[in-house]
């Protein structure tokens, strides 16, 4: 059996030819990602989300089926790729999560705090919000990303979102742009999308929400931003906060015209 270790030792001896080794590493990581595509556990979350949408809940004992995600009451198909957007009833620009909170409050009679109680799932603790987001996003699969920019508040969200993207702060001087402002960079072995570049932004925005195999959970765009800010050494981003929605608008707009292909499966 010991013979089987030889190839690894030979590989180690060859490492100084690091260009070749690096390409091999990248190729194998790519192969790893390919091998995962076969079965995406996000389906399990999406199935729960579809049930939550129909389930009666809250003091008003009502489902979310009449929730207007921007394309009319109850229209889910294609809603995700046209968010964030301005809603007259709340007089705000909302992304999917903030819109769901608005609907849970208006239709089901929950308080905003109740609606935001468990925005992200954890081991053994599923999140109704995360499941809903997984399902609603899946109903836009294959469609073009097209966030509206016709209302002044939508344009304002884009403009402030852009400023937030470049905002350096905290102990490490990090901004979103620190890791996502240049082409062809990676952190450890993970490719970093340049979110100021349309192609990268389309692929990145079009792949969230995603099932993260490192966590065994489906993560939403809100979570993605929350955890990026954590690692930027910022304080805690509040769920569905204005800054998070504005930044999402900036990213969605940068990704405009891309094909939405989420929930994806990722490291």
């Amino acid at each position: 059996m010991r013979i089987d270790r030889l190839p690894a030792m030979m590989l180690a001896a060859l490492l100084p030819c690091f260009v070749a080794a690096q390409q091999d590493t990248q190729k194998e990581i790519e192969r790893y990602r390919q091998l995962l595509q076969d079965g995406n556990p996000s389906e399990l979350f999406e199935a729960r989300g579809a049930e939550h949408w129909k389930a009666k809940r809250g003091p008003k004992n009502t489902s979310l089926e009449q929730c207007d995600l921007g394309l009319g009451a109850g229209v889910v198909k294609g809603a995700y790729v046209r968010l964030p957007r301005y809603f007259a009833d709340s007089d705000k620009v909302e992304d999917l999560e903030s819109r769901l909170v608005t609907c849970m409050v208006a239709l089901q009679g929950l308080t905003p705090e109740e609606a935001k109680r468990r925005p992200y799932s954890g081991p053994g603790q599923p999140s109704m919000m995360a499941d809903l987001v997984a399902w609603i996003a899946s109903e836009s699969r294959g469609m073009k990303i097209a966030p509206p920019q016709s209302h002044p508040k939508e344009r304002l969200a884009y403009q402030t979102g852009e400023k937030i993207f470049f905002y350096r702060a905290g102990t490490h001087d990090f901004a979103c742009a620190t890791c996502h402002g240049e082409d062809n960079k990676r952190i450890r072995l993970q490719d970093l999308p340049n979110l100021t570049n349309a192609g990268d932004a389309q692929r990145a925005f079009g792949s969230w929400p995603a099932y993260r195999v490192s966590q065994g959970e489906v993560r939403s765009m809100q979570w993605r931003l929350y955890d990026c800010f954590r690692q930027q050494r910022f304080p805690e981003m509040q769920f569905t906060s204005d800054a998070s929605v504005a930044l999402t608008m900036f990213l969605a707009k940068r990704a405009e015209g891309g094909t939405f292909d989420a929930p994806a499966i990722k490291r």
Partner: protein, 106 residues
């Protein structure tokens, strides 16, 4: 109760190709929670796949099968429209059985 499995059973040539995703934490017993306490092991131990009353695959698993397990295999003798039934049971006795109809092939 555990969430339903997602099962795909498709004809490929004369074989039935089965792919299944199961919703399960697959706790190893080695992970610590936020308070630093060990989370007890909780994992699927047995999986059985049957078709037409015959077992076409049976498995025993340990704690190192990934969370939300995925399994893929092929067997002969199935036809479109017939059922494939998959059951699992975990170390706490929780269990789940789901079935899928074999779809026409590619």
């Amino acid at each position: 109760m555990a969430d339903p499995m997602r099962i795909r059973a498709n004809m490929t040539g004369d074989k039935v190709e089965v792919k299944v995703l199961m919703a399960h934490e697959m706790e190893t017993g080695l992970r610590k929670d936020a308070k630093g306490n060990l989370v007890p092991p909780h994992f699927i131990r047995n999986v059985t796949v049957t078709h037409g009353g015959k077992t076409v695959l049976s498995a025993q698993w340990g704690t190192s099968i990934s969370k939300n397990p995925f399994m893929h295999f092929r067997f002969k003798g199935g036809k479109p429209g017939e059922k494939v039934t998959i059951s699992w049971i975990d170390n706490k006795g929780d269990k789940r059985t789901d079935e899928a109809t074999i779809a026409g092939g590619s």
